[in-house]
Subunit: 340 residues, 2 copies
DNA sequence: TTGTAGGCGTTATCAC
DNA sequence: GTGATAACGCCTACAA
C-alpha cells in the first residue's frame, strides 16, 4: 500500500540501459530503433507498468491539453445527459477526453468552471449557457483561436458557433397541430425566466402558429413555470378562467411533467396537450402524450463535430446550426375541443 | 484571429520588470510582496489575460493531476447522469475537475478509458463496471495508492471500495409488498446477462421474499430482458402460461418501461406490478407505478466522498457502502390478485 | 521584499 | 541507431 512513485521514462531507460529518448522513440514509433532494443524496451515497460505521463507530454508537445470541456446546467437532466453522451462519443473517437461540469443554471458557477477548464488548456469548449449569463469574458479566448461552441442556447455578447433545436419551428408545428384539431384557445406554459432563449423562441413559434391560423394572441393564456409543481398550479388557474383554454402547449419537459398530473387529477381528459421534448412512458399515458421530440444526441454530436472542424483549421464565420425536431402524435394532441 | 501564444508567467514578469517567482507569489498569495509590485503585477495579469497553466502547475507540484475520472456505461441514462451529478457536486467543491467517459457496457472501451485517465495522472478513479469486466488490470494502481471506488456494481478480481444500492433488500421489500397484497405467483423480469451483479442481487432478494412467505420458487416465472421491447415480449409470454403470474416484479427501469405498455396493450389492469428504480411520470400512470426507488445522487456523492477520504489519507480496508432504497406505493403494487 | 538555480516528465534538435 | 542537451510553464528551496 506504500505510495510508490510511478515509473518514468528515465526509469525505464536506466533499467534497459539506453537513453530516455530511445524509449520515447519506441513508444511513439518515432525515429528508427533496432529490433533488439525495441523488444527490450517494451519488455521493461510491461514489467514496470510504465504509462507515459500525458500532462508532461501535452505540455511539451502542444501546450494545449487533449481535452474538450463541456459545461451543462444539470447533469441529472436526461436531456443534457444525452447531449453529453453525443459529445463524448465523437471526441473519444478522436482521442480526446471530456472534462465535464454542471453549473446548476448559475452564472458565476458556469464562469468559474469555464475558467478552470481554460487553465487546463483545453483544446475546445462546449457550453450550454446558464440562464442570463454573459459570455463577453470569452472574447479573448475566441480571438486567440480557441474553438468554442454553444449548445441548446446561443452565446450572449459573443460571436460564436452554436447548435440549437428548431425551437420556433417545433413550437409552431405543435401549436398548429392543436389548431388543426379544432382548438382556438390554446395555453402556453413556458420556462422562467421569460428571457430564456428556448422559451422566447418557442413562444415565437406559438405566436406564429396563432397568426397563421388567424387566431388572437391572449396574454392571459401565457404563463411561466420553472418546475412541474408551478406548471400544475398554472394549469389549474387556467382551467378556472371564465373562458378557459381547450388545449395546452407545454413548452418544456418540466412543464409537461406538471401539466399531465394536473389534468389527470382534475379529471380533465378532454383538454388537449402537446409537450415540447419527449419523455419516457409518454406513450403509455392515457391518452398517450403527443410531443415535439428533440434530438439531444444529434445536438451533442453536431456540436462536437463543429469543434473538431474548427480544430482542423476551419476558419469560416461563426454559424448557428439548427437540429430538426419531430412531432410525435400519441393521442393527447389529437383530442378535439368540447364544442366539436 | 491569429492563434497567438498564450502569455506565461515569464511574459508577465518581463512586462512588469520583476522575476517570474514574484508573479507566482502574487498569484498564489505565497511569500510577502510589496503592495506596489502586487498592484502592478495584477494589472499586467489582467491586461495580458494571463491564466496560470494548470498542467504545468500540477506537474511541478504533485505529479498528480487535480482531476477525478468517472467511467459510466451510458451517459444518457438518467440513473447514471444523476450519479455523475452527485459526483461532480462533491469534487467541484474540493477544487477537482471531473473527467468523464462512457463505456457503452463494453469492457474493452472501459479499459481504454481507464488507461487514458491513468495516463493523465488523475487523483482518483470512479468506475461503474461494464457488464462482465475484470479489474485485475487495476491492481498495480491500487497498490501504488490510487484511490479507486466502484459504483453501482463492485469490482471483479480486485479489493476496492464500492458504493451500491440495497439491491437485495429492495427487491425483497418489493416482492414482499406484492406478497402482502395476496400474490402467490410473482414473475421476475431481470437484466441480461444473468451474471450482472445488480440482477443477481435483486433475484436473491426476490427468492428471499418467496422463502419468507413460504412460496415455491418457479424458474418459469423468471426471465431475462435487456431492453423494454424484450421485457414486453416476456410479459406476454408469461401471461399466456397455463398458470400465469398475478403480479410482476420488474427488476430495473428498462424492464418497467417494457412491462407497463405491454400490460396496458393487453388490457390487463388486474396484474400487479412493482418496478425497481423510479421513473418520471410513474405517478401519473393509471394505476400509478409502485417502485423501489434508488437514490442515484446519494450514490454519487457517497462514492466521491469516499475518494476524497482516501485522498486525505484514509488507509482503512476496502469496504462496500450500501445506499438505502425506498418503496413508493402508487397503486400498481397494491392491486389484489383476481382470486381475492 | 525579491531573485536564482533546479527540476517535474516528456519531446525536438542536433550531434555522434 | 542512439544519445546529450534544452525546453515546455510552473513551483520549491535556498539565497541575497
Amino acid at each position: 500500500m506504500a505510495s510508490t512513485r510511478r515509473p518514468t521514462l528515465a526509469d525505464v531507460a536506466e533499467r534497459v540501459g539506453v537513453s530516455a529518448k530511445t524509449v520515447s522513440r519506441v513508444l511513439n514509433e518515432d525515429g528508427p530503433v533496432s529490433e533488439a532494443t525495441r523488444t527490450k524496451v517494451l519488455a521493461v515497460v510491461e514489467e514496470l507498468g510504465f504509462r507515459p505521463n500525458l500532462m508532461a507530454r501535452n505540455m511539451r508537445v502542444g501546450s494545449r491539453d487533449s481535452t474538450i470541456g463541456l459545461v451543462v446546467p444539470e447533469l441529472g437532466n436526461p436531456f443534457f445527459g444525452t447531449v453529453a453522451g453525443g459529445v463524448e462519443d465523437v471526441v473519444r473517437d478522436r482521442g480526446l477526453t471530456l472534462l465535464m461540469g454542471s453549473s446548476g443554471e448559475h452564472q458565476p458557477l458556469e464562469h468559474s468552471l469555464v475558467t478552470t477548464f481554460l487553465a487546463r488548456r483545453i483544446s475546445g469548449l462546449l457550453v450550454v449557457p446558464a440562464a442570463g449569463s454573459d459570455h463577453r469574458y470569452l472574447r479573448r479566448e475566441r480571438e486567440s483561436g480557441l474553438p468554442v461552441v454553444f449548445l441548446d442556447r446561443p452565446a450572449t455578447g459573443l460571436a460564436a458557433d452554436a447548435v440549437v433545436s428548431a425551437n420556433e419551428d417545433g413550437a409552431r408545428m405543435g401549436v398548429a397541430h392543436l389548431v388543426a384539431h379544432g382548438h382556438r384557445r390554446i395555453a402556453f406554459i413556458g420556462d422562467r425566466p421569460a428571457t430564456l432563449y428556448t422559451r422566447k423562441m418557442r413562444l415565437r413559434g406559438y405566436r406564429a402558429a396563432l397568426v397563421e391560423a388567424g387566431l388572437p394572441y391572449d396574454p392571459s393564456l401565457v404563463v411561466a413555470a420553472h418546475d412541474p409543481y408551478a406548471a400544475g398550479v398554472a394549469v389549474r388557474r387556467l382551467l378556472a378562467l371564465a373562458t378557459p383554454p381547450t388545449a395546452v402547449f407545454a413548452a418544456n419537459n418540466f412543464a409537461s411533467l406538471g401539466v399531465v398530473p394536473a389534468l389527470a387529477e382534475a379529471g380533465r381528459r378532454d383538454v388537449a396537450l402537446v409537450g415540447f421534448d419527449d419523455l419516457p412512458l409518454a406513450a403509455v399515458l392515457e391518452p398517450g402524450l403527443t410531443v415535439v421530440a428533440q434530438n439531444p444526441a444529434a445536438m451533442g454530436t453536431a456540436a462536437a463535430e463543429q469543434i473538431l472542424a474548427r480544430l482542423s483549421g476551419d476558419r469560416s464565420a461563426a454559424r448557428t446550426r439548427t437540429v430538426p425536431v419531430a412531432l410525435v402524435a400519441r393521442g393527447s394532441g389529437e383530442l378535439p375541443p368540447p364544442s366539436a
